[in-house]
Amino acid sequence: MSHVGKKFPGTIAVDDVSFEVYAGEVHALVGENGAGKSTLMKMLAGSFDDYTGRILINGKEVALHSPTVAKKYGIGMIYQELSLAKPISIAENLLVGRLPKKGPFLDRKRIDSETRSWLSRVGLDLDPNLPIEDISPHEAQLVEIAKVLANKPCILVMDEPTSALSREEVDRLFEIIGQLKNQGLAIVYISHHLPEIFAIADRITVMRDGKKVATKDKAEMTREEVVQMMVGHSEREFYHGQPRASGGERLRVEALTRKGFFHDVCFAARAGEILGICGLAGAGRTELARVLVGLDRKDSGKVFLDGREASPRNMAAALRLGIAYLSEDRKSEGLALRLSIKENVLAGLIPMHSKAGVYLPEAGSAVLESLMRELSIYPRDPSRTVGNLSGGNQQKVLLAKWMACGPKVLILDEPTRGVDIGAKMIIHAQIERLANEGHTIILISSDLPELVGLSDRVMIMRKGHFIREMAKEDCTEESVLIAANTDVARPAQEVAHG
């Protein structure tokens, strides 16, 4: 790939990147969330028809404008999320689109034997007729890999292929990768997980903010250098990091447990404090937030708000107590996309702005006006439909909804996911302002610079447990990342990657 680029409305996701991968090589691609790794690989997979630059395969320029074309050139993609259809069988998933036939009928015997041979390549011995929903997630992950291999690719891209696998399965996958490499495949391996990368890669390319930082042989780099390159210092200046005068204890959580999701979680947060929670997706961060606002039931433990026990039974009760939750899923759980900015921002205030059952939306005009100004929501017309706004402005509307409610405790779950840098800066400034005004902020984020830059303290969560607390002085992006990556107390693939 030579000088390729891809713009999205409002942001440049990949900017003038050149990248090459050789046959018989495992090339690792690393970078933080939003660095542009996935976009770069999607270009290779033919997901965009408007990229700039040139892509060459075996020295010949190709135009990868659709997934079908990319497949034809032998590019195989293994994504984090499974692309298998759950109700149908392994065989049908594996051989989709080219099931062997005998006359007008399917050739059951050949389907069976072909599927078995591909499954054995990834070390699985399963009945090809089992539906995907009946096998475990890690088996499904391996079936996914077998499915891509069945298309006989010459370039194989793997995006976080180990996130659902156990230690033994990772070892087996690495063995398979080794075999494929020896057969002459070119492999691009995307991961957050540095130990894996140093175990498997021949060369490493680091990306940051849509640009390539460097490509080097594994032997020339240390883990610390890679982390340094990933993190960079480009975003550092956005965070003021002024010490805040935080007040008394606002929220105390004692041995809170929801079985199967998180266990014995204890922490306290003061008024005017930003408490960061860091952890891998699935570590139980969102589940913890859902229990705190009454969307899910706890199994045991206690929560105290201002010294009084607070276990809201639903979101409405949580709001009355003064606990609000900004969901990570903006489009379905956060906003009513068909309604206006005004209706969305004031949605949480309907009970407060009603007298004897009569709703008076005008009561919120002043709040709406000032929030739209403070958050620079664009366009400045409150009657606009939220679904037509840019992602950044949608996210600002969502934050405005919760700011309007003036909660004592505001839980923010990925408050800047998929948002451009301008909106991100505004949202960060508002989060800091809220804390300065004495609100307690619980910040759940996979964006490390954001988490480290904003938080007064960071709690690291893994597999449903709080494993470590880091004070602001000890928190740098490097230290959090390295701490998470070098912790050997637990199997490596569980380690939080931020």
């Binding site: 409002g10 009513a336 366009p379 439909t385 402005n393």
Partner: protein, 352 residues
């Protein structure tokens, strides 16, 4: 820069949306007017007689009033995002027949019994669809058959007559008056121009319904629930309660409709209310209410009811058999839903 482009496109789409809403409401009444003109034209052409008679206009008003009462209640269900309440026909029949049975005790006990029946059906729907998230169409259809079974078993396929059951003649007359009471007698000395109870009830229900949907916190929460159920839940709206309340509203208006129809026909029977489900849904959809919820108004629904009333009247005058009428109404329904879906898609909101 990108934001500006988005804003421009959005301004266009917002204006277009407002325009379409305006055209929708005005257009519905304009269409209703066209059907009136069609009636006159057909009479002038000699295809039908009696369209332009005072008696016929009274017929239209009565039909519109009864359908209107039921449709306004059901539109709360549609607005909440639960599409339709298919248990309306037997809610009407059962509440009507129970009322006739209780005329033995007296007029007000009969009314109370009818509402008790309606509320029980509404509550069951509210709990099962609201709380347990059953598919609203399938569930209310099932309830419809269960209630039909109850009527057939309890009254062994018999029709019952108010004048035979009522304890006194006064009670029977009071029941007759639900349909026939002239609230305002003979405007301008013309006995045909009096306002009768069903029309008065419908106008009251339309006004109340419009105010509740557009001006109350219940209406605002209903809109949020119908537009984005999950987001509403995450905003602290008790979506289960709100959805359930919509079904109770639909059951209450169905009871009112049931009492009116039973009073009109002077007989309690399983078939009272037949066809009201589909006619109400068609009126709601013609009235510009989106089947996916959160969009539309009661004023629009009233326009839809007017159109359905006029179409029914003209078809009957022409002499089209009932079954063919159903076919024509079905075709109209499909056309309107199709047009709605298309115009929404062109606005970039592909949810009809």
């Amino acid at each position: 820069m990108a934001d500006q482009a988005i804003a421009k496109a959005d301004a266009r789409s917002t204006a277009q949306g407002r325009f379409i809403h305006f055209v929708n409401v005005i257009g519905i009444y304009f269409a209703a007017l066209l059907f009136v003109l069609l009636g006159f034209a057909l009479q002038a052409a000699g295809v039908i007689t009696n369209f332009a008679s005072a008696q016929n206009f009274l017929n239209i008003v009565d039909n519109v009033a009864m359908l209107g009462i039921v449709a306004v209640g059901m539109s709360f269900v549609t607005y909440s995002g639960s599409m339709a309440d298919m248990s309306v026909p037997t809610t009407m029949a059962l509440s009507g027949i129970v009322a006739v049975q209780f005329l033995k005790v007296g007029f007000w006990p009969a009314i109370a019994a009818a509402f008790a029946v309606g509320l029980v059906i509404g509550l069951v729907n509210a709990v099962v669809v609201g709380r347990f998230k059953a598919n609203p169409i399938i569930w209310t259809l099932a309830i419809n058959y269960v209630c039909m079974g109850i009527i057939r078993v309890v009254w062994v396929n018999k029709q019952i007559y108010p004048d035979m059951i009522a304890s006194t003649k006064d009670v029977s007359q009071a029941f007759d008056a639900i349909y026939r009471l002239e609230v305002v007698k003979g405007l301008g000395g013309n006995p045909l121009a009096s306002l009768r109870l069903p029309l008065v009830m419908m106008v009251a229900i339309v006004i109340i319904g419009q105010i509740v949907l557009s001006r109350t916190s219940f209406g605002a929460q209903l809109k949020l629930t119908g537009s984005a159920r999950k987001a509403a839940k995450f905003t602290g709206v008790n979506v289960e309660l709100i959805t359930g309340a919509a079904f109770i509203v639909a059951a209450i208006t169905a009871t009112l409709g049931g009492l009116t129809v039973t009073s009109l026909s002077r007989v309690g029977a399983y078939y009272n209310g037949a066809g009201y489900d589909f006619r109400a849904v068609t009126a709601i959809v013609i009235g510009g209410m989106s089947l996916s919820g959160g969009r539309g108004s009661i004023i629009g629904v009233l326009g839809g009811v007017l159109i359905i009333g006029l179409i029914n009247n003209i078809m009957t005058l022409i002499g089209i058999p009932t079954l063919s009428q159903d076919m024509i109404r079905g075709a109209i329904f499909i056309t309107v839903v199709g047009i709605n879906a298309k115009s929404l898609r062109s606005l970039g909101r592909d949810d009809a």
